[in-house]
């Protein structure tokens, strides 16, 4: 259980990071769906791992970019978007990533449980 969680999390982190640079923003969400499905995570696991992986990757990347923000662009853009501070911009980024990962992980686990049922886990339940 623990191993599956860690492996899923690592796969998600790697995919989210790689796809982040080369694919549209939603490709990461699809990746999480796929990993959660293939790894046959349960719903809680999928939601937790997906949300956490997405949030870690996005926040880490945003944090890294903010170190480069010599022109204070994030704060200025936040002002344009109704007065959001840099911290609030980061918080919004975190929430969006968390929710996207959560829903992706949930859908992935639902798909996995439907199309790749884990027989070793399902047999006792059917008894």
């Amino acid at each position: 259980m623990k191993t599956k969680t860690i492996i899923s999390f690592l796969f998600m982190i790697i995919g989210l990071t790689g796809l982040g640079f080369i694919a549209p923003w939603w490709a990461g969400a699809v990746w999480v769906v796929l990993i959660a499905a293939i790894m046959r995570t349960n719903s809680k696991q999928g939601m937790f791992i997906g949300a956490f992986a997405f949030a870690v990757v996005w926040v880490a990347m945003a944090r890294y970019m903010s170190f480069e923000d010599g022109g204070d662009i994030i704060s200025k853009t936040g002002t344009l978007l109704g007065g959001l501070s840099r911290q609030l911009m980061m918080t919004v980024t975190l929430l969006l990533a968390f929710m996207t990962g959560l829903l992706s992980g949930w859908l992935g686990s639902a798909l996995g449980q439907t199309f790749f049922p884990d027989k070793s886990e399902s047999v006792p339940l059917e008894k």
Partner: protein, 799 residues
């Protein structure tokens, strides 16, 4: 299967929500999924790359672009087509959003990007037919040999950059607006010309003059608006002999010139506009013995700046200066033989013709006694987030008919529409490779836009100034007022031939200059109609200085460009203070203000307090004097006329306040009341604005799309209206250039902004502080790419 439905619905709904632009009032919140993605969205935009790189492009030969420490590109190409390809690429890379907004504004297509909030602006642009004439212009360019290859190369360069962009690379503004750039065409370049022509078309107040004439007595009208300032110091000095007879003199149609201009609204022109300066002094007046040319064109300032500095080298051309993003070549600059610059001549090249419709359908209009069919042109205005609107524009013999406020049912006859067959590119082609005075005159003969004062100096020692551009010849007396559009007799009779347009070469006074004042004195054979808001104070001040200066150095010219002496204040303030003293009305506190003003040296410096008192007092004084005009909704006269009225004093009834019929006020009363008002208003000012002139004026350079955080915020600047350093709130010197015509020429330049259009770039506004501290960057052309070390490089190799 059932277990999938809920998460699938929530997942797809969530992705849809994050991928959709969200309307917020008249604005839009960008689709927040990609916008907040740190790999592509706004977080990704914080650190633009300034690395060297290479790419394959549509050039015939390799092109090298070397950037100096100010990020000025030096383009080295084997042909002009390759050079403008690179220039188009660079302009797009640094100004694509500005290029897009500028051309959308001219075309009336802002609402496609910005939604309903710009609809009124778009409707006005469509009604004035700017895009239609730009389409014709772009088509006509191809009729001239060599143009197509050149324009195609430039357009390809711009599109090379646009096509290289994916969402992650979009300029920040596009990410905020959630809308990317669209492909560039030659029509966009034609619209860039149009946009500049609109900005320079300042010389008409037809409706305002008509209103004034309809509402005031002939005596008052003549007193306030007729005649030229007797102190005028025209662009072309009086030594010039005009040895030709004017062509095309005709009388207008009989009957009233204008009809029905009785509206109440007042003059809506932007008096924040101040004007530009240029001059050239011959080697006889300089310490080095070389001519020196200076130019500071004043425009509405924005970030990024309207200009993009560039240096171009091909086997035929070596030129350095500022380009106008959207167009190839250098617009103001210098070669290794000559330098040139521009100011607006402010000549009237737009007339409004009053239209008589047959009926309310507005399909037929009266012309020469019968009704002619107007050409109806439906214009679809697409509005982001709303349904499109169809506006039907009516075209008459005179031009498009507008439906807007003061100009309702008037047709617009404008140079910008009429010269669509002109080869605008030719002027830029020729001036960029001019080597001497003959080449310069040949180049400006091709200039087909609202008239400009084109100043010139060469390493051969020549200096010159020409009023270049298209100057219409009208039937006698027409042009200043709204014209009756019922008769073709009222049409323009052609244009002043180039050889007869005002110019002077190597005048006896050893300098040429212009500061938007009248181009010629009354001996000039053609009538000249000019802008009422460009007055002569700067021109006189420039000429008075240059007249008395000898052994002039570059430092002297720098000081003159930044001269803050207020000549109008020097003329009117002693009169106002005298009236105030005669009024004997001040209390102890008010006397302190008067004492401060009495000791003022008329320098409108940002750290000085006296200009605040002066400007506030002048404003109150003028309003109180012209209360009659405010009541009637009539424009004020020019400021020199106000000075004359104050000088002449109580013989004029304008000093009587109309709201107090029981009392007849005098000039002294006006001085006292307005002074008290000034003191009261000053005391009521926000403490931050009370400090000095810079704080009071509160200049700022806004972002082009008015994204406030990307502008400068409040900055303290010296200068103001009627001052050589004509920096107002957000209008001022957009480029300062001084060129000493040594061999090779040496230039000193700066502009308020920076080379990059990206607010995140360190080059977005890195010249700004230097600029407002009055400093310049020294420039000498770098003709050999292997002879200097660039900060970075872009290499283009042929596909």
């Amino acid at each position: 299967m059932k277990r999938i439905i809920l998460p699938a619905l929530l997942f797809s709904g969530w992705l849809f929500l994050l991928s959709t632009d969200i309307p917020a009032g008249e604005n839009f919140l960008p689709a927040i999924g990609r916008f907040f993605s740190p790999f592509q969205g706004i977080w990704h935009s914080v650190h633009p790359s300034d690395a060297s790189f290479a790419f394959k492009g549509k050039t015939k030969q390799p092109v090298r672009i070397l950037f100096d420490e100010r990020d000025i590109p030096h383009i080295y190409a084997q042909s002009i087509e390759d050079a403008v390809y690179a220039e188009g690429y660079l302009q797009a890379a640094n100004r694509i959003f500005a290029m897009d907004i500028t051309t959308r504004a001219a075309a009336g297509r802002l609402s496609e990007l910005l939604g309903k909030r710009t609809l009124a602006y778009d409707q006005k642009a469509r009604e004035r037919g700017y895009e239609k004439s730009a389409i014709e212009k772009a088509k006509n360019w191809e009729n001239y040999e060599g143009n197509k290859a050149l324009i195609d190369a430039y357009v390809n360069g711009v599109n090379e950059y646009i096509n290289s962009l994916d969402y992650a690379d979009w300029p920040i503004e596009y990410k905020i607006l959630s809308h990317g750039p669209t492909p560039w065409t030659s029509v966009h370049s034609a619209l860039t010309f149009t946009s500049m022509a609109i900005a320079l078309c300042l010389g008409e107040s037809d409706v305002e003059y008509s209103k004034a004439r309809n509402k005031l007595s002939p005596a008052d009208f003549n007193l306030l608006y007729a005649g030229l300032n007797p102190k005028e110091s025209p662009v072309i000095p009086s030594e010039k002999i005009w040895d030709f007879k004017p062509a095309g003199k005709t009388k207008p149609a009989e009957g009233k010139i204008e009809k029905g201009v009785i509206g109440q609204s007042s003059d809506d022109h932007d008096y924040d506009l101040n004007g530009s300066n240029n001059w050239a002094v011959s080697g006889q007046k300089t310490a080095s013995g070389f001519p020196i040319l200076a130019n500071d064109p004043h425009l509405g300032l924005t970030l990024p700046n309207i200009w993009y500095e560039v240096e171009i080298h091909t086997p035929d051309i070596s030129v350095h200066g500022v380009s106008l993003p959207g167009l190839p070549y250098v617009v103001i600059g210098f070669t290794d033989s000559i330098a040139w610059g521009s100011t607006n001549s402010g000549q009237d090249v737009l007339d409004w013709y009053d239209i008589t419709w047959q009926d309310s359908s507005r399909h037929q209009y009266l012309l020469d006694g019968k009704y002619e069919a107007a050409t109806l042109r439906p214009e679809e205005i697409k509005i982001r987030g709303s349904k499109s609107i169809i506006d039907t524009i009516r075209y008459t013999r005179w031009g498009p008919v507008t439906d807007e406020g003061d100009h309702k049912d008037m047709a617009m006859k404008w140079i910008g529409h009429l010269r669509s067959e002109a080869n605008d590119i030719a002027y830029l082609q020729k001036i960029n490779k001019a080597k001497n005075i003959t080449d310069y005159r040949d180049a400006i003969s091709a200039f087909q836009y609202p008239a400009q004062n084109k100043v010139f100096a060469s390493t051969e020692g020549d200096i010159a100034i020409s009023v270049a551009g298209v100057l219409p010849i009208r039937p006698d007396g027409l042009g200043q007022y709204v014209t009756n559009g019922d008769s073709s007799k009222n049409d323009w009779k052609g244009y002043i031939p180039f050889a007869e347009a005002p110019y002077i070469i190597n005048p006896k006074r050893e300098f040429v200059s212009s500061a938007n004042q009248v181009p010629v004195d009354t001996t000039y054979p053609y009538p000249m109609l000019g802008a009422r808001y460009f007055e002569d104070y700067r021109g006189r001040e420039v000429n008075m200085n240059l007249d008395t200066m000898h052994h002039i150095t570059v430092a002297d010219i720098e000081a003159l460009q930044q001269n803050n002496y207020n000549l109008m204040a020097a003329e009117i303030l002693p009169l106002m203070l005298s009236a105030l003293r005669n009024g004997n009305c001040l209390n102890q506190e008010e006397s302190k203000y008067a004492d401060q003003l009495t000791g003022w040296n008329y320098q409108q410096h940002r750290d000085s307090l006296s200009p605040v008192y002066y400007e506030m007092w002048l404003d109150a004084f003028e309003k109180l004097t012209f209360d009659e005009l405010d009541t009637l909704g009539v424009m004020y006269p020019e400021d020199w006329k106000f000075v004359e009225l104050v000088k002449e004093g109580d013989q004029h009834h304008f000093f009587d306040i109309i709201s107090t019929p029981e009392k007849k006020e005098t000039l002294n009363d006006i001085a006292c009341i307005s002074f008290t008002t000034m003191v009261r208003n000053y005391n009521a000012l926000d403490p931050a604005r009370k400090k000095n002139w810079g704080a009071y004026k509160a200049s700022e350079i806004p972002h082009l799309a008015r994204f406030a955080p990307f502008g400068t915020g409040i900055i303290s600047t010296s200068g103001g209206r009627h001052i050589i350093n004509a920096m107002s709130k957000s209008h001022g010197p957009s480029w300062r250039m001084i060129v000493e015509l040594s061999t090779p020429p040496k230039a000193y330049v700066n502009y308020p902004g920076g080379q990059s259009g990206n607010p995140a770039s360190p080059h977005y506004r890195d010249f700004l502080e230097h600029f407002f501290d009055g400093k310049y960057y020294e420039v000498t052309m770098k003709k050999d790419p292997d002879n200097w070390t660039p900060a970075r490089e872009i290499k283009i190799t042929p596909l």
